[in-house]
């Protein structure tokens, strides 16, 4: 079943270049190389950024773990022989690392964890996965293999002969492991004088051995129990530390291990950052920034977020989706060469070919722009390439400025909306971002209601929000918002003044209260009613006026700067908007495709004979469709004879209505053969399987139908 094809050696030298595949379509083979390079550099940048983010986010967790590991075997280090210590040291120090359900991200976490540990604590780290360890023997073998290899890695410079010892020949047992450990530590002990700067500066004299169980839940309980019991016997000679990677909840340890075993562990719990926070950071750093020229459209972002929220919680998959977006964008949009840093883009505009200029003229957003211009300018834009290029440069700059402002105002708006009750515009900034990208946010009901709510904010909240906004605007480098900052600061001082005035009034209120204390209930009621009356008739207080002013100002900012991206000219260059492609490739529904093909072949085969409406199919449909349709009418078992006859009835009717009774008595051989083919195809697809329950019957494997 396997065939290897090797090209002849001289042919093989022709190295396949990825670039060649980039734009092999005939129509727009413009600047493919440049596009590919741009794409790759952008992706590499994004990748580096995401890795950096991951590292930063995990730092806290890793620091905690490292300090735990340092603490865990301090007794062993000091070689104390106290009785209490010995009792205690029967317990294996264990870190339970709760990582969340996004299993796919764990790998990366563990990789960086082992790197950190290697640098800080110990060279002896073994990463174990459940799939490699079906039994205790495999586990020990794997463990020893990893430990001894890592020993070789560290000291390979010093003694070459040790490498020759094959791990297979060593008997896999705890005692041989201990022997190995002793010999290793002894060796480093006596070598320390010489090699102090290489190894001992980073690690202690007898560093702990860290065993990481990547997916604790998938391990067989037996294996885990055995390993823990065995190693707890030797804990005094062998400073072992376990790290459990847990996807569900820490309770799993106790449900997996009986008390007698779990009591041998001294467990400390560590919680990793939730993947939702991780995603927020990623979105913050990748999308809500003007740093990366590439942007995601609203639909696309929505698809990616939905996959994350409803399918896997995996940040890795989100990034993968982002990568696919980048690739798709650069592959399908010839103008994407301009999707780079502004400085480069301006340079590239100058060297655009005529074809590319035509491409730009074809962009819908650019057409809108042309139509809005004066007629002489229109002609110039549509005919003169050089003038066009000039304008493009200007437009690109506008777009860039728009992005910078957009992000700031968005954050500002988020400060307000994220503290409103019930979060009409969403709690997360990504939801707000989506809403703003989708359409003009100020026209939505949610925005209206959030403004209403904002008009009811109390003063301390409002002041802190304004301060936050000022911070956001100040942090930006551009000069655009100097005025805004001034204005906001003015608001703040006004609030301050109000506060002073308020304190004065406070005194009067308190005096009033004292008066009331002496009155009886009836009087109190009366005064309160009066107070209420007066308040209703009273005009807005100064504070309320100011509050209205603030909200209106924010509203004006939003209207100015949060224009949806597809209203902007040339947005097609930097925005990737084809969400359907993404959904198709990342979140495919094979069953739906099959269902459509079987029920409505016209969807694929555009032949008028196949055209049909609603629930049924034409009888001229391909054989497999007819057979499928017929089998839907059956229960759990299908009689092949009935089926065959039904099929031949249909097929005969198509071939000729004059099929006489004599020939229909014996089903035509060809039809029989076609039936057999269709049935075995259905079997291959998994709709039916042969059944032994009754002769010449097949069993259905799906429910329902029609």
């Amino acid at each position: 079943g396997c065939f290897v094809f090797k090209p002849s050696p001289k042919k093989r030298r022709v190295s396949q270049k990825t670039v060649n595949h980039f734009g092999e379509r005939k129509d727009d083979s413009e600047d493919t190389e440049l596009r590919y390079v741009t794409c790759q550099s952008l992706w590499n940048e994004v990748k580096l950024e995401t890795e950096q983010i991951q590292e930063d986010l995990n730092k806290q967790l890793f620091d905690n773990l490292v300090s735990f590991l340092r603490r865990s075997h301090s007794e062993f280090q000091e070689k104390t022989t106290e009785w209490t210590c010995q009792m205690k040291s029967r317990e294996i120090p264990t870190a339970a690392l709760v990582l969340g359900v996004n299993v796919t991200d764990h790998d990366l976490t563990f990789r960086s964890l082992s790197e950190v540990l290697q640098n800080n604590i110990t060279p002896y780290i073994a990463l174990l996965e459940a799939k490699d360890c079906p039994g205790i023997k495999n586990l020990m073998q794997k463990l020893m293999g990893q430990l001894m290899n890592c020993y070789i890695d560290v000291d390979s410079l010093e003694d070459e002969d040790y490498v020759q010892v094959s791990q297979n020949r060593i008997r896999c047992s705890m005692s041989s492991l201990i022997n190995w450990y002793e010999s290793v530590t002894k060796k480093t002990d006596c070598e320390t004088p010489r090699k102090k700067r290489t190894t001992s500066s980073r690690h202690w004299q007898s560093p702990p051995v860290v065993v990481i169980f990547k997916d604790m839940e998938s391990f067989t309980t037996k294996v885990l129990q055995d390993f823990i019991v065995i190693s707890s016997q030797h804990i005094r000679e062998f400073p072992l530390v376990l790290i459990f990677g847990i996807a569900t909840s820490p309770m799993i340890i106790h449900s997996l291990l009986p008390h007698s075993v779990s009591s041998l562990l001294c467990i400390e719990l560590f919680q990793s950052l939730s993947s939702k926070e991780h995603l927020s950071t990623i979105i913050d750093k990748l999308l809500l920034t003007a740093r990366f020229p590439f942007k995601l459209g609203e639909k696309v972002l929505q698809v990616l977020i939905n996959i994350f929220l409803y399918h896997d919680f995996s940040v890795q998959n989100f990034i993968k989706g982002f990568q696919l977006c980048i690739v798709e964008h650069f592959y399908s949009q010839p103008l994407s060469i301009l999707c780079c840093q502004l400085v480069d883009a301006k340079k590239r505009v100058n060297s655009l070919s005529h074809n590319q200029c035509e491409n730009i003229r074809r962009l819908p957003s650019f057409r809108r722009y042309v139509e809005s211009q004066a007629s002489d300018k229109q002609i110039a834009l549509l005919t003169a390439d050089s003038y066009l290029k000039e304008i493009i440069q200007k437009l690109l700059e506008d777009l860039h400025v728009y992005h910078e402002n957009y992000v700031l105002v968005l954050r500002c708006l988020h400060v307000f909306t994220s503290s409103l009750p019930k979060y009409p515009l969403g709690k997360q900034i990504r939801e707000l971002h989506c809403a703003c990208l989708e359409n003009q946010v100020w026209e939505t009901e949610e925005y209206e209601s959030s403004l209403q709510l904002a008009r009811m904010l109390n003063k301390p909240d409002l002041v802190t929000m304004l301060q936050q906004c000022v911070e956001i605007f100040v942090s930006s480098s551009g000069k655009e918002f100097d005025m805004t900052v001034e204005k906001l600061k003015e608001f703040l001082t006004q609030f301050q003044k109000l506060e002073d005035a308020f304190q004065e009034r406070d005194v009067s209120v308190s005096s009033q209260k004292e008066l009331q204390k002496k009155t009886d209930l009836y009087h109190l009621q009366k005064t309160l009613l009066e107070l209420k009356e007066s308040r209703r008739s009273k005009k807005l207080t100064k504070f309320e006026m100011l509050r209205f002013e603030v909200v209106d100002y924010i509203d004006s900012l939003v209207r100015n700067y949060l224009v949806p991206a597809d209203h902007k000219t040339l947005h097609e260059i930097v925005y990737f908007n084809t969400a359907s492609v993404l959904r198709e490739h990342l979140n495919a529904a094979p069953r739906i495709a099959l269902h459509t093909a079987l029920n409505n072949p016209y969807w694929y085969l555009k032949n008028q004979a196949l055209k049909s409406d609603g629930g049924s199919i034409s009888n001229k449909a391909p054989d497999i469709c007819i057979v499928y349709k017929l089998h839907l009418e059956c229960g759990r078992l299908i009689n092949l004879v009935d089926w065959l006859e039904a099929f031949s009835t249909v097929v005969m009717a198509v071939e000729g209505p004059n099929a006489d009774a004599a020939s229909s008595d014996q089903v035509d051989d060809v039809i029989h053969a076609r039936f057999i083919r269709a049935v075995s195809e259905l079997e291959l697809l998994g709709f039916i399987k042969p059944s032994k329950q009754k002769t010449d019957h097949v069993a259905r494997l799906t429910w329902g139908g029609c």
């Binding site: 009888n619 229960g635 759990r636 006859e645 198509v654 209505p657 053969a673 083919r677 002769t695 019957h697």
Partner: protein
């Protein structure tokens, strides 16, 4: 009523007289209990049975009338609403099973046959079921409701039946009870002779016809009726599901292919016959394929960027992948795996990588070791690149958890590019999150509608007679490499087995007898040489030995008789 008794083929079927009161009680019973009763003790009340028979005979008369109406209705059949295929809701695809009548298929077939080119709106007897089946998608439901009501109106037919209790039941709780009853009748209708068989395909079911004949009686408010119907359905859905699945017995007709006097086709004749039948819609299929082929360069790009590609959709994707291979991969090392091949294993895939791609000689203790070796080699040598094409990644042999794990790990290597196809409807269930992230799939829908010729040729289909050509060729191959004497020994055994082929309790040839015969034919001179010879046969799986009750060793050739005859004939030709 003596008819079914007389035929008596239906196993435990018993017909007995039941007094009227009991029949009534029987009918008025709770449907759930009733069903169970039906299943446990196959007792049919004489009255209902008679009634049913009457209905059936009625149908035949009505049939011609029906047909005419269909033809008349053809012209006014509107077909403007095109279904939006890709946006089919999940509820439509994964619906609950509803109990079906056995004659449903024939019914649909006749329907399809009678409406050339046109499509028929689903006949109204199955409409209520439909509406209930897709409660998840309201739009779908609305559509069906519309069909239902409009159908009723346009045809001016009422839901009134000659058998009132039946209708009542049907409308109130439609209706595992009724279905089971009618299916039951179908399965015990042993009286159907072979001459009658054609009728099944044309006779419409017993319930439909009375409803249609009573055209002019009092019109009840149809829409509300339907709505009530639907509500009832909703509440009963769960119960129905369990009722449909609680029974171990399934009621279908008992006809077999043998009665059809239909010989089973073997692989070769099947192939020849299919060649005669022209491929339908060849032009459209070609167009589809061209669409897919335009994606080749994109696939290459994405493979190189670290994604792997999986193809799904109806139709064989073998030709497409083959085209991809010949047009793009000519200049690079690539491995083609025919997953549908019945003896493919992960080990053979790994072996061909280590032995042929990496030129490594030596064996490995386990696939995991082998995988580790491959990973190491590919990581060391960055110039190594390998394209892996797997036809049917979801095949029987490769769908196991361990195989998938190994393949996933292979595919996660940056310099191994995997492009695979899947066909089984449940194929995506093979992969959990961890494997999916290793595979890093990009899904491509490539519906080709091409027949699965290669893929199904190894399938153990019910309808296809196993030709044994494989066994025959292996027999001849092995024997050709043996000595003349050895061949003679085997011949003796084969001949003896063929002589006894009619003896169903033939245990095989005992060793002693065999030795005697061989001696007489001057083929061996001691039983030791014979034993040595037999060991060789056994190693090649040419014979099987088993010990009889008396402790005597019996020898058998585990090949069917026709193959054996073929073999002997061939041998005779050669000699």
């Amino acid at each position: 009523m003596s008819q079914p008794e007389g035929k008596g083929g239906g196993g435990g079927l018993r017909v007995k007289f039941v007094p009227d009161e009991e029949v009534l009680k029987h009918i008025a019973d709770d449907p759930g209990i009733k069903v169970r009763k039906d299943k446990t003790q196959p007792t049919v009340s004489v009255k209902t049975f008679v009634k049913k028979l009457e209905n059936i005979s009625d149908d035949e008369a009505q049939e011609i009338l029906e047909e005419n109406k269909y033809v008349a209705a053809l012209g006014i059949c509107a077909q403007d609403s095109m279904g939006n295929g890709s946006s089919v809701s999940g509820g439509e695809v994964y619906s609950f099973q509803t109990p079906k009548r056995s004659s449903k298929m024939a019914e649909l077939a006749s329907e399809l046959a009678q409406t050339p080119g046109q499509s028929v709106a689903p006949d109204h007897s199955e409409c209520p079921e439909k509406t209930a089946k897709t409660p998840q998608s309201s739009s779908n439901y609305m559509f069906l409701m519309h069909v239902f009501s409009s159908l009723l109106q346009s045809k001016k037919k009422e839901f009134v039946s000659t058998t009132p209790y039946r209708l009542r039941k049907r409308l109130a709780a439609p209706d595992p009870y009724l279905e089971s009853e009618s299916e039951y009748s179908a399965s015990c209708s042993e009286e159907e002779d072979e001459e009658d068989q054609k009728e099944v395909s044309t006779v419409l079911s017993g319930r439909k016809t009375p409803a249609k004949t009573m055209t002019a009686s009092t019109p009840p408010p149809r829409n509300t009726l339907a709505k009530k119907n639907k509500e009832n359905k909703m509440s009963n859905l769960v119960e129905e599901y369990f009722e449909a699945h609680s029974s171990s017995k399934v009621l279908t007709s008992d006809r077999t292919l043998q009665k059809l006097r239909k010989r089973r086709l073997d692989q070769q004749t099947l192939h020849d016959l299919l060649k005669k039948a022209p491929l339908a819609y060849a032009a459209e299929i070609k167009e589809l394929n061209q669409q897919h082929e335009s994606l080749f360069s994109k696939w290459m790009l994405q493979l190189h960027l670290g994604f792997n590609i999986v193809l799904y959709g109806l139709g064989s994707k073998r030709d497409l992948l083959e085209k991809f291979r010949t047009s793009v991969l000519q200049d690079s090392v690539h491995l083609v795996v025919n997953g549908y091949f019945p003896s493919i294993t992960v080990r053979s895939i790994l072996n061909s990588i280590t032995e042929e791609v990496l030129d490594h000689i030596g064996t490995f203790r386990s696939p995991l070791d082998q995988l580790e070796f491959i990973i190491k080699r590919f990581k060391e040598d960055s110039s190594l690149e390998l394209y892996v094409l797997i036809h049917n990644l979801d095949s029987q042999m490769l769908r196991g958890e361990r195989s998938q794990q190994i393949l996933a790990q292979l595919s996660s290597l940056p310099s191994i590019y995997l492009i695979a196809s899947i066909d089984h409807i449940n194929a995506p269930l093979m992969w959990d999150q961890a494997k999916l992230s290793l595979y890093n799939w990009l899904w491509y829908e490539t519906t080709t509608f091409s027949p699965y010729v290669e893929e199904t040729s190894y399938e153990n289909s019910l309808l296809v007679q196993q030709s044994g050509s494989l066994a025959l060729s292996s027999l001849t191959h092995v024997l050709r490499s043996l000595t003349l004497n050895a061949r003679g020994i085997f011949r003796l055994l084969a001949q003896y087995q063929l002589e006894n082929k009619d003896n169903t309790s033939y245990p095989g040839l005992s060793f002693q007898d065999f030795y005697q015969q061989c001696r007489e034919a001057f083929l061996v001179n001691s039983d030791l040489t014979l034993r040595a010879q037999l060991t060789e046969f056994r190693d090649h799986k040419l014979i099987r030995t088993k010990r009889g009750a008396d402790g005597v060793e019996y020898l058998l050739i585990p090949v069917d008789d026709s193959t054996l005859t073929d073999f002997l004939e061939k041998e005779d030709e050669d000699v």
